[in-house]
């Protein structure tokens, strides 16, 4: 499009095209192009770096997911594999060994180890039954007979039977699941027998449900035992179900909710040993029932927070229970519980019950009490001095005398000595008051804070 330089006015498109050809714009300078090139390099490099980082992050995320999945899968499958390997390995390598291990643990005191060992024994029920008959049963192998000769055998008790059966059920389900096979009818009948023996019906067949059923049976056994034998060792029974039934609290709370009164009391006794904070609410509700009140209080003093116990003390009408709760507060040996207790000592309405509770304790937390003699609050210092004095004892008196003579918490120690009912403390107070006028003045002042039911010493 060359320049059309005619002098006529434009009448067609060619003239316009000629004009357009002459159009000029500010030309792109070389520095501008250089700047843009640098800009592009910066942008492009940053973009590539970012994409590289994103690719690496995505690869890392995928790797982490795979690793996490593999770990979870391994953790889930590992116990089942291990139990199968153990079962098969032990039964092949040392068939008579488990019986020896049962003997090595006293049967009367069932420990987790003995239970675990006994579990392996039930994997060969034929041998067990034959040995129980002292080798007289038909079909007993020479190996089992030699075992009988080596160690005496005794049948498992009721709890052990339940636990062994539950363990067998779980193991059998794991094996069936791992091998993709269903248990035989015979196996089902054998594995369900223990549940029927505890009076529970069994309908679901999943391993998780079976485990729950077994735990329920174990807890039911423990409750039944406490109901039938009020002198049974609650701590021992609790320790057994704690080991055998991880969900024991759930079943105990269900018993507390729906059981009969004796069963509820038994459940409360067990909860006192192995209950958690989750059981506090249901136990508080049970405390409102007159026939469960005492047992519920006994549980609450063990599992409830000290502030809750303090509230219960205030609302309690029964003096014995009130004293029990106060003693429980003091025996906890914790600062919050001690503060609650000292509040009751400082309160004249409850001071006698609190001091009586302190006196009834066999093993009071003396170190905590003596350290509380330095409490910033004078009311608490005086209260704890009265408690120490009431607890009394030769060692305590000597410690108090040493404090008086060394000048450490002298005022509080004097109150404690004046509150003491021991002869040694009384003699020291009389002697010291006679020989040391300054001590006499301190004792005189401290007498105002000492226990009011004491007769005046001078």
């Amino acid at each position: 499009m060359g320049a059309d330089r005619n002098d006529e006015l434009p009448t067609d498109g060619e003239s316009l095209d000629a004009l357009l050809c002459e159009a000029r714009w500010p030309s792109a300078t070389q520095p501008a192009v250089a700047r843009l090139t640098q800009h592009w390099e910066r942008v492009w490099t940053a973009r590539q770096r970012r994409e590289t980082l994103m690719r690496r992050a995505a690869a890392l995320a995928v790797a982490a997911m795979l690793l996490g999945g593999a770990t979870i899968g391994w953790l889930r499958l590992r116990p089942a594999d291990k139990s199968i390997a153990e079962v098969e390995g032990r039964s092949k390598a040392a068939p008579g060994r488990s019986i020896l291990q049962i003997e090595s643990n006293p049967v009367g005191t069932t420990s987790p180890q003995s239970i675990d060992t006994a579990r392996h024994e039930t994997r060969r029920p034929t041998v067990t039954v034959q040995t129980a008959a002292s080798g007289r049963a038909k079909g007993s192998s020479p190996e089992s007979e030699s075992t009988v000769n080596l160690v005496p055998w005794r049948p498992p008790n009721e709890l052990e039977s339940l636990m062994l059966a539950a363990s067998d059920r779980n193991r059998r389900h794991s094996l069936a699941f791992a091998r993709g096979a269903q248990p035989s009818t015979k196996q089902k009948v054998a594995s369900e027998s223990f549940v029927r023996s505890s009076g529970k019906s069994h309908r679901k067949s999943s391993p998780a449900t079976d485990a729950k059923s077994a735990e329920a049976a174990i807890v039911a056994w423990a409750v039944k035992r406490l109901v039938s034998d009020s002198g049974a060792d609650v701590a021992s029974v609790s320790a057994q179900i704690r080991t055998a039934a991880p969900s024991h609290e759930e079943f105990l709370l269900a018993t507390l909710d729906r059981g009969k009164a004796p069963e509820q009391i038994a459940a409360l006794r067990l909860l006192a040993e192995i209950g958690s904070a989750a059981a506090v609410g249901p136990t508080l509700r049970a405390a409102a029932v007159p026939e469960l009140h005492r047992a519920a209080i006994g549980t609450l003093v063990q599992i409830a927070d000290s502030s809750i116990v303090g509230e219960l003390v205030l609302g309690e009408q029964n003096a014995d229970l009130q004293r029990t709760m106060l003693a429980a507060l003091l025996s906890r040996g914790e600062s919050p519980a001690l503060e609650q207790f000292l509040n009751f000592v400082a309160n004249e309405g409850t001071a006698d019950a609190a001091l009586a509770a302190a006196q009834s304790l066999k093993d009071p937390p003396m170190d905590l009490l003596f350290s509380s003699l330095s409490d910033p609050l004078e009311v608490r210092r005086i209260a704890v001095a009265r408690v120490i004095g009431r607890i009394d004892g030769a060692a305590t008196t000597r410690r108090l005398i040493a404090m008086v003579e060394s000048g450490v918490n002298r005022h509080e120690a004097c109150i404690a000595l004046l509150s003491s009912r021991g002869q040694e403390a009384a003699r020291y107070v009389d002697t010291a008051a006679e020989h040391d006028p300054s001590l006499a003045a301190i004792f005189s002042g401290a007498r105002l804070f000492s226990v009011s039911d004491q007769p005046p010493r001078s």
Binding site: N6, L9, L19, A23, W25, A32, T37, H39, W44
Partner: protein, 171 residues
């Protein structure tokens, strides 16, 4: 590896077409500094969306499309710089038309008039008359029909003819 080779090729193509993109932006905006800013933005967008570039398309067309989008985003529709030719040309015509300096100013004025056209008309005119794109390519780039390109081009030319009439008279 294919992605890496694509990246190298894109880098080369951008570097190669950078001057033409700057020139195109200058024609669209009518100002060198604005054009440089437009191309900077366009480069950022190109780096961000380089995966959308398909080999069957001309790289220049792809880059021009980005430049056009940047220009449009910087000057939204309805705010075009379509300024009617008024006193400038009249003044130029009133002065001595024989002066060489004024001749230079006049040809720049033609560029300014083109850059002051409404956006669509400016884009069509610049692409077809100055960047050498065919009607079909222009229609594809602007995502309009070829008939629309023809119509828009006719309107733009008529407008320029009218606005540059004093300049024709001077010639």
């Amino acid at each position: 590896m294919a992605r890496s080779s694509d990246q190298y090729e894109l880098d080369r193509l951008v570097t190669e077409h950078l001057p033409s993109a700057l020139r195109f932006a200058t024609r669209l905006t009518g100002d060198a500094n604005t054009a440089e800013e437009v191309v900077q933005d366009a480069l950022v967008r190109a780096a961000r969306s380089w995966k959308t570039f398909r080999r069957e398309a001309r790289f220049q067309t792809w880059l021009f499309r980005i430049v056009i989008n940047v220009v449009r985003s910087r000057c939204p529709a309805g705010r075009d710089r379509a300024v009617p030719l008024t006193d400038d040309v009249a003044d130029l015509r009133a002065t001595d038309p024989a002066m060489g300096a004024q001749e230079s100013e006049l040809v720049e004025l033609i560029g300014a008039r083109i850059s002051a056209l409404p956006a669509r008309q400016r884009e069509v005119l610049v692409l077809t008359s100055f960047e050498g794109l065919s009607v079909k390519e222009t229609a594809s780039l602007l995502k309009i029909t070829e008939a629309n390109v023809h119509a828009t081009l006719a309107v733009a030319r008529a407008r320029l003819t009218k606005e540059l009439a004093p300049y024709f008279a001077r010639r």
